[in-house]
Amino acid sequence: MLGCHAVRERLSDEADGQLTGWRAFYVRFHARICPTCKAVKRSLDETVSVLHALRDEPEESEAEKPPRS
């Protein structure tokens, strides 16, 4: 059985559909019932969602602009 540490190491693969078989099932199941891993998965999903949104944001953001002198 995979512990929390091993599950969290695989959450990124799970998000990309890279896991198969029992491993995929176990990681999904564990991340649903373990509060800590569930929180990490939610946080990871949010991060990936923000990254996806950057695709349609070609304009230079405030974060990228050089500081005004």
């Binding site: 946080s43 991060t47 923000v50 996806h52 950057l54 230079e60 990228e64």
Partner: protein, 180 residues
């Protein structure tokens, strides 16, 4: 084919105009310098226009991102920023820490989260940064990403895992990630 249109598989001016903002954004995020990014995009477009290898089978943006990525890697390598040890370093201890604060759902919060992530992208090691930019932002296939970065699929998996988790930590520290 209408008069004045290029034949299939040949880049048109419209293709280039449409793709250029995205190329500039990608290059800027990858190398962290707007002037260098502009030069790399220019080189990419020149190479693309001269290249016979675009056969129209992939999207123009994806194809151009591929060419640009190789130039980005060449630039980082020549600048001494493309270390071969990135993948072998042990993962930082805080990569698996717990999320911190709740965050409101709103357009403003979303915009702020994007700013946090863009800033944090610049702090990632180059390979992790490119892995995240190519796969998560540009939607490039893992096989092509491995080719660009010169890594095996198992290494790419590690780069992506670490890069995403560093960005996740940045969002959490900024108070922009939901708690359970």
């Amino acid at each position: 084919m209408a008069r004045g249109e290029p034949p299939p598989g040949v880049l048109s001016d419209a293709d280039i105009r449409e793709a250029t903002p995205a190329l500039r954004a990608y290059a800027r995020r990858a190398v962290g310098d707007a002037a260098v990014a502009a030069d790399l995009v220019q080189e990419t477009l020149l190479a693309a226009v001269a290249s016979p290898s675009f056969e129209g089978r992939s999207r123009v943006r994806t194809w151009l991102i591929g060419i640009l990525s190789h130039k980005v890697v060449d630039h980082l390598r020549s600048a001494g920023r493309w270390r071969t040890t990135d993948v072998d370093e042990a993962a930082p201890a805080d990569l698996l820490d717990l999320p911190a604060h709740p965050s409101p759902e709103s357009a403003l919060a979303r915009r702020q989260a994007m700013d946090v992530v863009q800033r944090a992208l610049g702090d990632l090691p180059p390979r992790e940064r490119l892995a995240v930019l190519l796969i998560d932002v540009e939607g490039v296939e893992r096989t092509e990403t491995c080719n660009v970065l010169g890594v095996q699929p198992t290494h790419l998996r590690i780069l992506l895992h670490r890069g995403r988790h560093r960005l996740r930590k940045a969002l959490e520290h900024a108070g922009m990630s939901r708690s359970p």
